[in-house]
Point group: D2
Chain length 353, copies 4
Amino acid sequence: MTYFCMNPTLVVLIFSLVLATPSFSSGADPQMQKWQSGKGWGWVWGKDDEVGSLNEMTDASRLAALRLATQGRVYDLGVLYDRTSYKWPGHSPGEILSFRTPEGVKRQQDLPALINNNSSKTAWHSCALFINDNVATQIDGLGHATEGADDHWYNGFKEEDWGGNWGPRKCDASTIPPIVARGVMVDVASFKGVDALPSHSVIGVEDLEGALRKQNTELRLGDVVLIRTGTLRFWGESGNDTEGLIAKHDSAGINLETARWLVEQKGAMLIGSDTSGLEYGPRPEDTTAYRAKYKSFMPVHNYLLIQQGVHIGEFHNLEGLSKDKIYEFCYLCSANKIKGTAAGFALKPIAIK
Amino acid sequence: MTYFCMNPTLVVLIFSLVLATPSFSSGADPQMQKWQSGKGWGWVWGKDDEVGSLNEMTDASRLAALRLATQGRVYDLGVLYDRTSYKWPGHSPGEILSFRTPEGVKRQQDLPALINNNSSKTAWHSCALFINDNVATQIDGLGHATEGADDHWYNGFKEEDWGGNWGPRKCDASTIPPIVARGVMVDVASFKGVDALPSHSVIGVEDLEGALRKQNTELRLGDVVLIRTGTLRFWGESGNDTEGLIAKHDSAGINLETARWLVEQKGAMLIGSDTSGLEYGPRPEDTTAYRAKYKSFMPVHNYLLIQQGVHIGEFHNLEGLSKDKIYEFCYLCSANKIKGTAAGFALKPIAIK
Amino acid sequence: MTYFCMNPTLVVLIFSLVLATPSFSSGADPQMQKWQSGKGWGWVWGKDDEVGSLNEMTDASRLAALRLATQGRVYDLGVLYDRTSYKWPGHSPGEILSFRTPEGVKRQQDLPALINNNSSKTAWHSCALFINDNVATQIDGLGHATEGADDHWYNGFKEEDWGGNWGPRKCDASTIPPIVARGVMVDVASFKGVDALPSHSVIGVEDLEGALRKQNTELRLGDVVLIRTGTLRFWGESGNDTEGLIAKHDSAGINLETARWLVEQKGAMLIGSDTSGLEYGPRPEDTTAYRAKYKSFMPVHNYLLIQQGVHIGEFHNLEGLSKDKIYEFCYLCSANKIKGTAAGFALKPIAIK
Amino acid sequence: MTYFCMNPTLVVLIFSLVLATPSFSSGADPQMQKWQSGKGWGWVWGKDDEVGSLNEMTDASRLAALRLATQGRVYDLGVLYDRTSYKWPGHSPGEILSFRTPEGVKRQQDLPALINNNSSKTAWHSCALFINDNVATQIDGLGHATEGADDHWYNGFKEEDWGGNWGPRKCDASTIPPIVARGVMVDVASFKGVDALPSHSVIGVEDLEGALRKQNTELRLGDVVLIRTGTLRFWGESGNDTEGLIAKHDSAGINLETARWLVEQKGAMLIGSDTSGLEYGPRPEDTTAYRAKYKSFMPVHNYLLIQQGVHIGEFHNLEGLSKDKIYEFCYLCSANKIKGTAAGFALKPIAIK
C-alpha cells in the first residue's frame, strides 16, 4: 500500500473549488435586497420599476439555483395548447390557422418568384394564430390586474397614463425577466391523499406547512413556490375538458391569508400552481360573502400582482414532479417577448433536477 | 512545513466527485448517440421521430451545459416583438389587441357578476393576438420546410398524411424539447471588423474557422452554434425597420457548404444566427444561378430541417454576448407549446455565463 | 260642368306606359335562359362560370322584381352578429376587438402627427375583427361545398387546381352578383300552426305546397324562395343561445326531395331559410341510415351548391314578414366583397314591399 | 273616328293613380322631417337616436327611389377586398385564412362523425378572417369619429358611457338602416377633364355646381351624393397599390365648406366618394395651417358624422357610372350587421338604373 501525500494548502484549494458553488445549494439563503419579514415587498423598487420581486434575482442567486440541478433531468411544466384547450371563459377563444402550406403556396401562385426555378419543389408551413394571452401555462405580468377608481396596477401605473390600444404600456409580459431560481413544489394533493383537491378547496397555510413537512422541504427566501392541486392530471393531450374535470378542480387554490404568509413570512418571489388562476374560487352560494370580505373577485391577484409586485404562475404542470417526488429544483422560465401582452402564455417552463 | 497524507483511493474518490461533472465542461465531448462524422444525422431516430438531432441531449449533456454557467449572468437573446417588427414579407402581419381593459370591463357591462359587489373596483388587462408563428426570435420546427412532389418534411412525413387545417400534425414546434446545451457564439462580424456584415454576404467555413480561432473557441459535438452577422444591432426597441437596415443586412448568412461542415464535421445540434433566416440570400442578379445550383430558394433550410433534422435558430440577439466577448455559455430555450405551429416564435432564449 | 274629351288612342297609350312594368309583376314569368323543367340547371353556363343559376337575372327580371315594391316598406332579413351568436360548432369563433379608441389613440402616442395640433381633440373608433365567413345571415357561395375524391365543387373546379391558402380561388363569395329578384316567403311554421318547427322536422314538398296554398302564393321561375321554420324567433338580440332553443329548432329543414322539387319543377334560383343550414338534420339515431341513403352529411348542399349551381340563403330572419303576412316581395341582397370567402356573412338582405 | 269623353274628375283620378309614384321621381322633393335649410340636421332626432339623417327615409322616399330604376341595370359600386388592398395606414392589416378545406377536413381527423359514413366524400371550404372594419367600400357609422375632451360622438354619446372593449356601444354600423334612396353621382373628374383629380385637390362648391351643370343633374333633398375623383380607376383587381397611384389620388376630396353646402343648402342625406376618406388631405407643408384653421385632421368627418349625423360613403366605385354617364339612380346599400363595428366594410352597394 502506498500513500499519497499532498500539501494541505493544495487540499484546501481543491476543496474550495469543489464547494464554492454547492455552498449556495446547501442551505445559505442569498441576501434579499428589499424584502422585509412581515411586509414582503410592495412598491419598493423605484417609481419606474416594472419588475417587482423578480428584481431579487442576482447572478449569485441564479448560480445557486442552477447548482440545484445535479442530474440534468428536465421536467417540462408546460401544457400543450390548442383550439380546444380549457381556459377561463372570460378570455377570448383561439385558432391556429395554416397561413401557408406546401400545396397552398404552389396553388395560390402569389409568389411566382419563389415557386418557379425551384426544382426541389421546396415550400413551407407557417401559421397565423388568433390567441389570447391568458392561455395554457402562464406567468401573469404585473400589469394584468388593476384596482381602484383610477384603475391602477403595480407601482401605481394608471390606465389614463399607461393604457393604450394594444395592451398595458407598463409591466407588460415582455418586462418579465428570464427566471432562474430555486423552485419548490408543494404537493398539497398528495399531502391530502387525493388525486386532485375537490372543487372550491381552500389551501391554507397549514396545508402548505403540512405538505412541506411531509415531503421534507423547506421554503427559502426568493423561491418560486409551485403548489399542486392535481388539476392538470385532467389536461390530457391538450386540455379539451369535455367531461368538465378541469373546470371542476380548477377552483381549488390558496386564499389571501396563504398568499400573505408565502410572501410576508417566506419571501416567495413567484407563486404558481397547476390551476388557471392559483387562487381559491368560492362556491356560488359563498360568493357574496367572499366578495364582501375580500372586496375583490380575485383578492390573491390584487395582493400579489398589484400590491406586492409578485408574479403569478398558472397552469404549471406538476404531475411529473409529483410522480417522481421531486420537491426542490432549478426553475427556469423565459416568457415570450411580445409587447403589450398581459401575461406570458403557452409557456414551457422547466424544472431541472 | 507539514505534509498532509492521504490514502490514494480517497484522493481518487475526491477527485472523482469533483470532476464528475466538470469533465463534460472542460473538454471531453459527450458521447453522441447517432451522429456520424462526414454524415451528420438524417432520418436516423426511428420512423415516428419528430425531434431530430435534439434527441442527442441527455441528462449528462444538460448537466455539463449547466456547469458552463460559472457566474449566473444571463444574456437575453430574444428581441422584442410588436406590430411594427421586421419580418420576412411572406409572413402574415400581426396585432396585439386589448381584449379586456379596466375601463372596458366596467363599461361593457357583459360580466355584471364580476363587476358588481367589487368594492376594490378590480378589473384586468388581457389581449387577443393575431400573430404569425415566424416572428421575432424563433426556432424553426422540423415541419417548417418541405420539399419534393410529395411535399414531405423531416423523416418523410408527407402533407397528404400529416397536413391538416391547423398546421402540420407532425414535427410542429410543440415537439421541440427544452433545449439545454453548450452554446457557442461565433462572432463573424467582429472577425471581419465590421458592425454588421454587408448585404448578401456569404459566411463560409473559413469565416467560421477564422472567427473561432480569433476568439479562441472550439466547437464540440452537440453544440448550439450561434453565428453573429451584427444585423440585430439595428433592431432598436422592437424592430421597426423604418430605415431598411435590418432588411439590408438580413441577407448575410451561411451557405449550404457551411451548414454541411457544421453538421457533418462539427456535429452542431442546432444552428442559429441573428438574421431572420440564418442563410445567405443572393442578390437579385445572382438568384437564377443560385437556384439552378442549389435547386431551392432556401437550400440551408432544406438541408438542416428536412434532411438532417437539425433545428434552426433565427433572430437570436447576440449583441450583448459580442460586447462582453462571451463565446461559450449554457444555452437555454424552451419554445412555446402551441400545437400546429411551424416555429417557436417571439421567444426569449437565454445564454448563461 | 265641362267635359274633357280625349282621343282613345292617347288613353291606351297612357295606360300602356303605366302598365308596361307591372306586367312583370302580375303573372308573366321572365324567360329562363338555361333552366329546364325536370332538370333544373347544372353545369350549363360554360366552363369558367362561377355564378350558376343567378346568371338568370336580367335587367328585365330585376325591374320586374323592383316593381313588386309598391309601398317602399323594408324588412331587414339580417340577424345581428356578435361574439356570442349561435353558429354551427364546426365554424371558428369570433371577436370584434377595438383597434383604436379615442382614449387609446391619445394614450398610445404612436401617431403624434395626428394627435398634436388637434385642438378639437378629434379621435376615432375602429375595430379589428376575427370572424368566420359562415356566421349570422349568409349566402353560401358555390365554392363552399365539395365532393368526390377530387374535392371538386360547382362546375368541376377542383381543389388541386383552384384551392390555395386563402379560400377557394373559384366561386368565392365575391362572385355572387347583387341579387334583385322576386322573393317568396313560405311560412311553413304558420302552416303547421306552430311557433317553430320541432327539432329534426323534415319539410317535404307537401308542406311547401300546403303553405303556399294557405297563403295564396305561387312560385315562379327564378324566385328566391325563403322557407320559414320559426327558428329565428329565438335569436333575441344577437343569437346568444343560452337556452339552446336555436340549436334545437335549427335542425328543421328541407330534404333532398324538396330541394329537387324546388329547383327542377319550380325553377327556384336561390333557396333559403331561417336556419343555419337550410336542410333537415336527422336525429343521432337516424344518422347512419340517412347517410347511407344520401351518401353525404349535407345532401341538400351537395345538390344545390355543387350539382345545380344554386346558392343557399341561411339565417334569413323571416319573423317580420310572417307577422305582417308578406309572402311576395322584392328580395335584395348584396354580399360583402371579400376575395376567398366561402359565403357572404353577417349580411343584411332586405325584402321590400 | 269617335271620341272618347270622360269626366275631368275621372281623368284626374286616373292621372293621380298613374303619377302617384313617378311624381317623386320627376321633380317633387319628398317632405323632409327634420332638415332645415341653412342648418342641416344636427342632434335633432331625440337623445337615444343612433341613425341621424337616415331617419329621413320613409316608405314614400324609398318607393320614389326605386322608381328611378327604369331599366333594371345594376352597377356594383363595391371594390374587391383582399390582403393586399390599399387602406389608410392607420388601420389594421387583414388576412382571409382557410379555416377548413376539403383536404384539411379529411386529414385533420377532428370530425370523424362527419367524415366517416360519407361515401360522396363531401367536405367544405370555410374561412376565418382577420379584418379591419375600415376597408374597401365602406359606410362610416356615426360612432366612428369622436371629438372633445369627453370623446363624444354623434348625439353626445361619450366614451366613458358608451365605450367598451368591443367597439362603440352606440351608433355602431349595425344601426345603419338599409339605405334605399335617390343617388346622384357628381363626376368632378370628368368635369375637370382628367382621369383622376391630382393629389391634394380640393373639391369646392363651384366644382360640384359645375359638374352638376355639365351633366345636367340637380341635387334634391335626401339624396345620396357620390362624388367622383377617379381614384378607383387605379384599384385594379383588388387594390394592391404597388405603384402608389391610389395613395396618390386618394388625397383629393371635399373640404368643410363643400360638406356644409351639401348638407345645409342641399340636404344631402349621405355623402360619399371614391376615396378612402371623402375629404381633402393637405400637402405636408400645408398641414399645420390646415389644422390650425379647421382644428381637426379630418374636419369633414367631424362635421358630417359627429355634428350633423350624416353618414359617409367611402371607396364607392363610380367608374361604371361615369363610363355610362349615369348620374341619377336608385342607390341601395345594406351594411353588414356586426355589433360594435365602426363602419360597414367591404360592402357592395349598388346603383340601379
